[in-house]
């Protein structure tokens, strides 16, 4: 690895974006590497489809390229890119999503966690996989806005203020959405061993 590539790894997203604005395409490549998985994951759990998540993530990056000139250092890059992400997902979801019924508590999600190495039953890894599946199912049943806020927080690692900026709302609304999500998810995991362990 070159010294230059190592340098790229250490700089902040904002600096990389400014470098890209100045024509450094390698900076953009680094940003794509950093955010590909996060955007794809949020899209996947939000829409419940790998194909749609892939398109959503790609569209987001394409829009980042188009709007690169408008980025300024006054905003966090993470907040900015998820703002673009939110805009695209909102526009594409002007009609109710194909997979989820936003208001249904009993919707059947297809956004299971990715299949990893099969763990032997009764092992901790196996229990974790079951728990993740249960959480994913419960997340998929949340109303769209609540689900999005939860995923931006837990998977996207945004602060609540960044979420408010990204989705264009105020902090109290974000608090309310997240509280709704956590209260509902709590109900579905209270009987698990992991929850009991976390309480200790």
């Amino acid at each position: 690895m070159t010294r230059f590539a190592e340098d790229q790894k250490q700089v902040t997203d904002e600096v990389l974006m400014v470098r890209y604005q100045r024509g450094r395409r390698d900076a953009f490549a680094t940003l794509v590497s950093r955010y590909a998985s996060t955007l794809f994951s949020v899209g996947y759990y939000l829409l419940g489809s790998e194909a749609r998540a892939d398109k959503l993530a790609q569209d987001t990056f394409v829009q980042v390229v188009r709007e690169a000139a408008t980025f300024n250092l006054e905003v966090q890059f993470r907040s900015w890119i998820f703002g673009i992400f939110h805009k695209i997902v909102t526009e594409s979801n002007s009609s109710p999503p194909e997979i989820f019924d936003n208001n249904s508590e009993t919707a059947t999600p297809t956004a299971d966690p990715p299949a990893s190495e099969p763990a032997p039953p009764s092992s901790r890894a196996f229990r974790s996989q079951l728990l993740a599946r249960r959480v994913a199912t419960r997340v998929a049943s949340l109303p769209f806005a609540v689900r999005e806020a939860f995923l931006l927080k837990q998977t996207g690692q945004l602060t609540m203020i960044d979420i408010a900026t990204a989705v264009g709302t105020d902090l109290d609304t974000v608090r309310h959405l997240l509280r709704t999500a956590f209260d509902r998810l709590q109900e579905s995991v209270t009987d698990t061993e992991e929850y009991a362990r976390a309480l200790r």
Partner: protein, 252 residues
């Protein structure tokens, strides 16, 4: 802090997004409020348990995005390309070495533009006793090179602005003038007369005539002075002054 306020900020506290002051206030509240403590503990546990694993994008995702990026940038509108070029140039311009080089070039350019000609390259300017450039007043030259005559002593070329071209004559005139300045009119008169005759039709000749006439006046040799002033009345440059001198001599 009361329970209502605590409930409002409990998620901020769970995600460590509270400012120090409110964090301390919330800490004091949960220390004596078991209900709020239970809520907070439950939310923390939910936060830890409900973490969804990251999903890796499909293979070739990054390459696909970069390919699209290349395509978009190849068809960027002119304005954006211009902005990008300006931005790149500006990033180079901000480097100290580039700035210094630009300053150096600017200084060299400015010095070439504003460089002054050497003193030797300039036209010689003679100044009369009154501080007026002599060349301006006495630059008429007999272009046709007409033969000298008593009444046509360079008079035919009156009004000509041709510069003095007889460097030798000028030199001689300067010498005569310096003799006049140092030793007086008597000593200079002979030199002035010689120059007057020698360069009769040129500016030098006219200037020598004028000087000789002045010398005659100062030596009280009025007849000779008058004769020379009358000659100069026929010239364009000296006519006015010569007439004034003649008028003055008539009144004396």
């Amino acid at each position: 802090m009361d329970c209502e306020t605590f409930e409002r900020v409990v998620l901020d506290r769970v995600f460590l997004e509270l400012d120090e002051l409110t964090m301390g206030s919330a800490q004091r509240h949960v220390a004596h409020c078991s209900r709020c403590r239970t809520i907070e503990v439950g939310l923390r546990a939910t936060r830890d348990v409900c973490r969804l694993p990251h999903v890796a994008p499909m293979e070739g995702f990054v390459d696909c995005v970069l390919t699209q990026e290349r395509q978009i940038r190849s068809v960027l509108p002119l304005r954006q390309r211009l902005n990008r070029a300006v931005s790149m140039l500006a990033s180079y311009a901000m480097r100290p070495q580039s700035t210094m080089a630009a300053l150096l070039l600017l200084m060299i350019g400015a010095s070439l533009f504003l460089v002054r000609t050497r003193p030797g390259d300039r036209d010689l300017v003679q100044v009369t006793e009154r501080g007026v450039p002599e060349v301006d007043q006495e630059s008429s030259v007999n272009k046709e090179g007409t033969a000298p005559s008593a009444m046509n002593i360079g008079f035919a070329d009156s009004g000509s602005n041709a510069p003095l071209d007889d460097a030798q004559g000028l030199e001689e005139l300067e010498h005569a003038r310096s003799v006049r300045a140092n030793s007086g009119c008597f000593a200079a008169l002979e030199l002035l007369e010689t120059i007057r005759r020698k360069y009769l039709t040129s500016d030098v000749g006219l200037a020598a005539t004028w000087d000789a006439a002045e010398c005659y006046t100062s030596l009280e040799r009025k007849a000779e002075a008058r004769a020379l002033f009358e000659l100069l009345v026929g010239t364009h440059k000296y006519a006015k002054r010569a007439k004034a001198q003649l008028a003055a001599s008539d009144t004396r």
